[in-house]
Symmetry: C2
Subunit: 392 residues, 2 copies
């Protein structure tokens, strides 16, 4: 029997029905502008600050003034990196990041290089872990920013953020963390983990799209990238997106409450999926770290076939997954993340990314692990690259 | 009897219940990412393009590829101006705008001045109309962009956009129009009105907040300001905010259908409000153009008292209005728009902005016109500036 099995949560998550419920009154009833002087404005301001305090609680920040709402993870990453770069021009022009960052970090750095900034890309090991020694070697007195993701959305690998922060701070550089894939999945504490700036996204924890936040530790000064009415204490102009902010607050609250139990449940499903696939399909391998990985992430490569054909074949039996980041799936280039962990072009092309979510069950995992061997066999049978011994 | 009368629609509008209805499935059921290869992705892509075509229809664009979704009016203005400036650096560094633009235009220009661009601010007449002769005089071969709002959200004045476009084009400059306050209120045709780039906002036509669009005529090339996965044909990275985009599409469709009848209804209410207030309160005057003004906009100044006290007094009887743009209401500065039309500081401070909306009725207008004379009298009685003859 055909199921609909959505395992592409890193591309987009459903919004939690409780979150939708929380947002609804702000569309049609409490539609004041938080900047307005009258009672409608007061209500809106209160709702904004209530939502902000829930983000504070999720990430272990110290106060509401450390959370700035943006239009999402991409904007938060742009704001953090460009904001630090412009603000600290006098101090230095060197930025350090890694070879496996999200395109919003990669392309912001690339664009800053055209403006005269120097960017060093620290390599990662075969599991996708950032090399601390490379960082030690690369960092100088001119380094103003180290930008490293908390966990990689494609291969799931979680970074040693606290240690990276220590190295950055020893040299007087700021640490920005892209926690879009990690926030809501694993517990994060900005204070304990030496984080100065951190990007998070609402949809990546079952909140609405089009809203995210940038955490900025008290005293961290950056320059805005969008100018106007001076909302969000001057850092992000534009009418506050109140319904979405309220939704993100609710999503953060739910995430915090469920992070332990749901993380454990997802980890079990993930491991069952990885084991089920790898044990039943020859020449299939896990990408990313075997243990230090996001609870919902299973990235598996299959020799001799292409991820795109796998995605389309799985789609035909109702399963949604991807070949990497949705943000780069339009290009035919192999994932820069998979190349960075040392895979060859054809290995990167043959990788499949499953990202699990709240609605996924054991039955979903069984459905995929039961169906996948035949699909892989069929695709390998028509691939000229497949060695004979795999075709029996 | 106390009513709740919301007349602050330029600060924030309720979302049309039909729009909320249209958005709902995209939160919890059709949550695919438009960039994904599978069926969820296909559905999402179709919904994006369907919404885009409704924006095309509203503004008279030629094709879907001319509409780029952003996070709102402020971002659209930032993107248009900075995008043209960076892209045309080789051609020239001169930008022309006016003295009454929204802060998102004003502050983007200010920030570009620090980067070496020259900005000329064209003055307006006492009704807030941009001087075409001043524009003719200011424009040179180095002018790359003329940025003028379609209508002013504070004083309601509608600009001679077509003529402004002719002048710009004669010199080879692009015309950007901030139509945030106008789109959905008055019919706009980008082709007939010589518009190359146009910013619109969803919430200003009863759509959700946190989403807007930039129209860019085919062939107009600008540089992105937010970098990442290359969504919106490379111009605006970040996961597409599908529920909001669908909502904005629905809002545009409804606006287009109702623009004539609702515009006439609002104009009648507006004129009744203006007449009712000005005839019953001595030393009260209309700000902005007497006829060329937005159907929903009534901006009235009252000598000898402060707008803030009026807002708070009206709030106590359930009426919401403002003293100007919500984007600037946090500062104690008088509105730059009111100063630009020649008002003195104290006149600007004594102004009240009523912006009407779909839910407002004749009864709402009667409620305000009945209540306001006593409020003004009471506030004037305690103001040291009020001349004796007004106190009887």
């Amino acid at each position: 029997m055909m199921r609909r099995v959505y395992m592409d949560h890193s591309a987009g998550m459903p919004v939690d029905p409780e979150v939708v419920e929380a947002m609804l009154p702000y569309f049609t009833q409490q539609y004041g502008n938080p900047s307005s002087l009258h009672s409608w404005g007061n209500e809106a301001r209160k709702a904004m600050e209530d939502a902000r305090s829930k983000i504070v609680a999720l990430v272990g920040a110290k106060r509401n003034e450390e959370i700035f709402f943006t239009s999402g993870g991409t904007e938060s990453n742009n704001l953090a990196i460009r904001g630090v770069a412009y603000r600290n021009k006098d101090k230095g022009n060197h930025i350090i990041t890694t070879t496996i960052e999200h395109m919003s970090v990669m392309n912001t750095c690339k664009s800053l290089m055209k403006e005269g900034y120097n960017v060093t890309y620290i390599p990662v090991d075969k599991h996708g872990v950032v090399g601390l020694q490379s960082l030690e070697k690369a960092i100088t007195d001119k380094t103003i920013l180290v930008s490293v993701m908390y966990a990689n959305g494609e291969i799931g690998t979680i970074q040693p953020v606290r240690e990276i922060g220590e190295i950055a701070h020893r040299k007087g550089a700021l640490l920005h963390v892209d926690a879009v894939a990690a926030a809501g999945q694993v517990p994060i504490n900005v204070e304990k983990e030496n984080i100065d700036l951190m990007s998070i996204s609402s949809n990546d924890m079952y909140g609405p799209r089009g809203v995210g936040a940038l955490y900025g530790k008290t005293g961290t000064r950056i320059q805005p990238i969008i100018h106007g009415g001076g909302q969000e204490r001057g850092l992000r102009s534009g009418t506050e997106n109140l319904p979405a902010v309220v939704g993100m607050g609710k999503a953060a609250e739910i995430s915090k409450a469920e992070i332990k139990t749901e993380g454990e449940r997802l980890s079990r499903l993930r491991d069952k999926l990885i084991k089920g696939v790898i044990e039943s399909i020859p020449s299939s391998f896990l990408n990313g770290h075997p243990t230090q990985r996001l609870p919902n992430n299973a990235n598996i490569r299959f020799s001799y076939i292409e991820g795109e054909s796998l995605i389309l074949s799985l789609d035909m039996i109702g399963v949604a997954c991807s070949s990497g980041s949705a943000c780069t799936s339009k290009t035919l280039e192999p994932s820069h993340v998979l190349l960075a962990i040392g895979l060859k072009h054809e290995e990167a092309h043959g990788s499949l990314l499953f990202t699990l979510g709240k609605q996924n069950t054991e039955e979903d995992v069984d459905y995929v692990t039961n169906a996948l061997p035949d699909i892989v066999k069929r695709l390998r049978a028509i691939s000229p690259l497949t060695p004979k011994e795999l075709l029996s």
